[in-house]
Symmetry: C2
């Protein structure tokens, strides 16, 4: 459902799976206006999705978290097994409750917040916390483009276009890695680097000040602002690369021994990795529903073997 960056990523990931088939692409646009990569797959109006209930095993929702998914995931969880990448951490409890209710009513499985954060990073946090209950978690993001912060820059009067990179502070990564369990402020964990294209005649000094003082987004960070041309932005700042680090630093035997668990991702394409995770959890959604399960789920509720194309026997012999 949806054919932007995520939809195209799902299309690639389904093609890479030996046990999956792309049944249809649903869109809110005019289906005739859409050309997809896979030959012979129907492009269908979202308005007609309901008629596909007996034709597809799982629907992967590729909309945005701000307005699409809060409405779409509960709506479609009544009709289909669904997976989404809802990533507004603060609204997860509310979204989960809505999806859980709808999925239970429809006898379907709805897995929310699948991707890398939330998603693989959440798994790193939960496993590490479970095995080292005495300790501290740290999550660092980047280096990578933040869509939310780039949008905030573009809302400033006089800004024509902009990109914002979130960058972890190397010295803090090293301090956490050492096992010293430092207390880190927001400023000590990440820096923010902005590339801004001005509208003709805009006041650069005023805009730089406005950026650096913007509450929540920039005021708690060391922020660098570069003014560049649209051509330079288009040439050098279109990468979808991202990544980050999850640490747990903990102790055992009442503090006698220290342990550091580190999980990190270095991704060339944020949307393609996100959708690779979505597609693995789509497999699990279908399998769980086939086994009689239903309701809302997150990555915490899914046994890892359910994500894999291989049999349990294969996994035990080769990956255990």
């Amino acid at each position: 459902m949806g054919y932007g960056n995520l939809g195209r990523g799902v299309e690639h990931a389904v093609a890479a799976a030996g046990d999956m088939e792309l049944a249809a692409v649903f869109t809110r646009r005019d289906p005739a206006s859409l050309t997809i990569r896979t030959p012979d797959v129907p492009v269908v109006s979202a308005a007609e999705a309901e008629a596909w209930q007996d034709k597809i095993d799982v629907m992967i929702l590729c909309g945005g978290s701000a307005t699409d998914l809060p409405e779409q995931t509960p709506k479609y969880a009544r009709l289909f097994n669904v997976v989404d990448s809802f990533d507004t951490h603060a609204r997860v409890p509310e979204h989960f409750a809505n999806v859980d209710e709808a999925a239970k009513a429809g006898g379907k499985v709805g897995i929310i917040s699948v991707g890398w954060d939330p998603g693989m990073f959440s798994l790193a946090r939960v496993y590490s916390t479970a095995v080292l209950p005495q300790g501290k978690n740290y999550t660092f993001w980047g280096k990578g483009l933040s869509q939310g912060h780039s949008d905030a820059l573009r809302r400033i009067d006089g800004v024509k276009d902009a990109r914002q990179y979130t960058i972890p502070v190397e010295a803090s990564l090293e301090a956490v890695r050492s096992g010293s369990q430092p207390e880190l402020t927001t400023r000590q964990m990440h820096t923010r680097e902005c590339f801004v294209v001005l509208e003709d005649g805009a006041d650069a000094a005023r805009i730089e000040r406005e950026i650096k003082e913007m509450p929540n987004y920039f005021s708690d960070y060391d922020t660098t602002v570069h003014f560049i041309s649209q051509a330079e932005l288009d040439a050098n700042h279109k990468s979808m690369a991202h990544g980050g680090f999850v640490f747990r630093s903990g102790t055992t035997a009442g503090g006698a021994n220290s342990h550091v668990i580190e999980y990190s991702l270095k991704l060339d394409s944020n949307p393609e990795f996100t959708t690779s995770v979505l597609v693995a959890y789509a497999r699990a959604a279908y399998r769980l529903n086939q086994a009689g399960d239903n309701g809302g789920k997150t990555v915490f509720d899914i046994a890892p073997a359910l994500l894999c194309e291989q049999s349990g026997e294969d996994l035990r012999a080769h990956l255990l």
Copy 2:
């Protein structure tokens, strides 16, 4: 069951868990000869374990993989929910089949091969393989003491005592981290460092040659041998530290984009970390059995939420 390094680690980890209580320590030794850390917990002869069926929720097996667990885990899986740290990778399919049969017969849950490798490293391999089906896995161990290789050194005629460290090759770690998916030989992945105490009059040159030419254990590696005194070995080579790295380097969109997933552990105490993992999976074994499940399991079959003391609601609100 068993009160060596693992048994003592379990004792610490249970004390750190808010929802667990150590019911008893079972031993094959004379119970009167054993003093344990926790006051008022009975030490019971292994021969009397059967009488404890209605008194304990899960038995954590703390024996060795060579001879203890192949016999103990199936035996006790008929009577109790059990968790073990069986780590002989090649014999996992056979051990799993035995435990599965026994646990099903007894209506209990038996989780095998829990720890860090197999265990947390297996999870890293399975999740990464599921989300990046096109790619290559790499596992590096160390720096840390290898019990099996130390034992092999001690079996050599003229060796009084010895310790062997497995050390990952830094340049190969960096090559994998870069996403280049190198083909690495055994020799390129790890080096082996041996600290050997000779018996009086032993031939150092012959022993060094015998070590370096030993098939499977050393002949495929760059091996360094240091001859030291027993006092030096006792003073400097008793650390239980270990760790390692699991990588998956993969691509999406038919090879257009690369991604590197890295999971690493830096552990002060190998047995204490192993038992922290065992205790988290003991929680899952009991919960699964309470929910009506039974049979053999591995970490691949367990949803992460089952490992956690926190509720699902708590986990979604704070760790997702």
